[in-house]
């Protein structure tokens, strides 16, 4: 037997080491459709509990929207279950083309290419357009999938301090000897909820002859006046060269992603991106559902407007209640706790109060920056938000952190 006892024990030890570090990810089972209120089995084997979900990327509440489900059913009936092919062999239907065209129009870009996920889009885009004589200059807090894509690419890379434009300018100056420069950033940073100042990024890109790539996975559908994204928010819709984004969050929450941008760059992705060439096509029901999502969002801003109101109510409620939240305007609201055990303990007590949230700590976020990341949704009602704030106030009181700033929490619990 190749998988000997000795081999097995080595892997058991690896798992044990993860548990010892306190970073073991436990299983949680959702026994209902995704939504504001969900039924959860946690810990595994426990009776199901109905809790309010404040940790999904379901920003617009479209994951279980009746029109989207209906459209997905119709897609299933009219175009089948799967493609059994990559895109370029026999995996592209008319509805794939339709979704690509709709995304180009929604995002204000020249062309779009669908990928099985945004993780795949980010894995493929850099290798397709850049060579060893080029350089990527990336914000240090970009999403892990961008980091992986950059590492897979033959171009050189460098980094700049998170949203520090002075440092970005310094790096652009340093790399003037390279053939192409590509600035890479998230539009909205997933752990902090920060909005990247794309107007300033574009000014620097133009000054130093650089292209700009933005991952809009936590922005598409709800950031900006009509939900087009961070580039709409900063009024630079015609100055971004590449957007990568996902259908797995606000845009229906199923799966799939895309690269959207200058037509030559998209063509190179179509010719060279390995996840496009070697991974299966997006399934027809998901494509049909995603088309409906874009149609819904193109007709009305009702959902992103409600999300904005919910976000404001939660941020104001938490601040009034004396919780230490990271300031901002996005529906990603980090409740700062700094200490990993404290973040885990409070998340567990919040679950007992009927609120489903998760603690995040190193290495997912910087050491000493542990937090609970709360994510608002247009599916939340006012009473859901008020219940969540009240639960944080109650649990915060139990741990004696109400009204405490960073220094006071660290003095009490350590980092």
């Amino acid at each position: 037997m190749a998988y000997s006892d000795k081999t097995r024990q080595a892997f058991v030890d690896d798992i044990g080491a993860i548990k010892e570090k306190g970073i073991f990810k436990e299983k949680r089972f959702i026994c209902s459709p995704q939504g504001a209120a969900i039924r959860v089995e946690y810990p595994e084997g426990s009776p199901q509990e109905e809790v309010l979900n404040f940790c999904a990327n379901n920003y617009l509440g479209l994951s279980s929207h009746a029109d989207v489900i209906k459209a997905a059913h119709e897609g299933l009936d009219s175009r089948g279950y799967g493609m059994s092919s990559v895109r370029f062999i026999c995996g592209t239907q008319d509805i794939h083309r339709e979704l690509q065209d709709k995304m180009s129009s929604f995002l204000g870009m020249e062309d779009t290419l669908l990928f099985p996920s945004c993780m795949d889009a980010n894995a493929g885009v850099f290798e397709s357009i850049l060579e060893p004589e080029d350089v990527i200059i990336a914000d240090r807090l970009i999403h892990a999938s961008l980091v992986d894509g950059i590492r897979l690419c033959s171009a050189q890379y460098d980094t700049f301090k998170h949203m520090n434009m002075k440092h970005l300018a310094k790096k652009l100056e340093l790399h003037q000897d390279k053939r192409h420069r590509l600035i890479v950033t998230d539009g909205v940073f997933s752990m902090d909820g920060d909005l990247c100042p794309l107007d300033e990024v574009c000014e620097l890109a133009e000054k130093y002859d650089a292209m700009v790539l933005v991952d809009e996975s936590h922005a598409s559908g709800f950031i900006g006046r009509t939900g087009r994204g961070t580039h709409e928010h900063f009024d630079v819709m015609d100055r971004i060269d590449i957007i990568t984004t996902t259908f797995g969050k606000a845009l229906g929450g199923a799966s799939g992603g895309c690269v959207s941008g200058r037509k030559e760059l998209i063509e190179l992705c179509r010719q060279k991106a390995r996840p496009y060439l070697f991974s299966n096509s997006m399934a027809p029901p998901i494509v049909a559902g995603s088309i409906k999502v874009i149609d819904v969002l193109s007709k009305t801003t009702e959902r992103r407007d409600k999300l904005e109101v919910n976000t404001q109510r939660f941020r104001e409620g938490m601040t009034s209640a004396g919780l230490n939240i990271r300031p901002g305007v996005t529906p990603i609201v980090p409740v700062m706790l700094y200490n990993a055990k404290l973040a885990n303990d409070i998340a567990r007590d919040m679950y007992a109060e009927g609120i489903y949230v998760i603690g995040f700590f190193f290495p997912v976020v910087a050491a000493g920056a542990a937090r609970i990341r709360v994510q608002l949704s247009a599916a939340h009602e006012i009473e859901h938000i008020d219940k969540c704030v009240a639960a944080f106030a109650k649990v915060g009181e139990k741990y004696g952190i109400i009204g405490m700033d960073k220094k006071a929490i660290i003095d009490k619990y350590g980092m």
Partner: protein, 82 residues
């Protein structure tokens, strides 16, 4: 040796520490394992060392362990300088 330590320390502070960060970095402060420098942004330091001291660091040398303190970085550079 000490001069090189000062140069590397100055670069690390300038490159990785924000003005509002309340961390103090010395010659033996853990950089990688404490999260001051992450494995992704470590590349900036590698490029700086190669350019400044005209050396080439192989990927299997530029490890998180070798880059964990200013002291260990300087030891690595000195190995190349002979």
């Amino acid at each position: 040796m000490d001069e090189m330590k000062d140069v590397v320390l100055e670069y690390v502070v300038d490159e990785y520490v924000d003005e509002d960060d309340d961390v103090e970095v010395g010659f033996d402060t853990a950089l990688i394992s404490s999260g001051i420098v992450d494995s992704f942004s470590m590349v900036s330091l590698k490029v700086f060392l190669e350019k400044k001291y005209d050396i080439t660091l192989a990927d299997n040398e530029a490890t998180p362990e070798a880059f964990n303190t200013v002291t260990s970085i300087v030891e690595l550079v000195n190995k190349h300088l002979g």
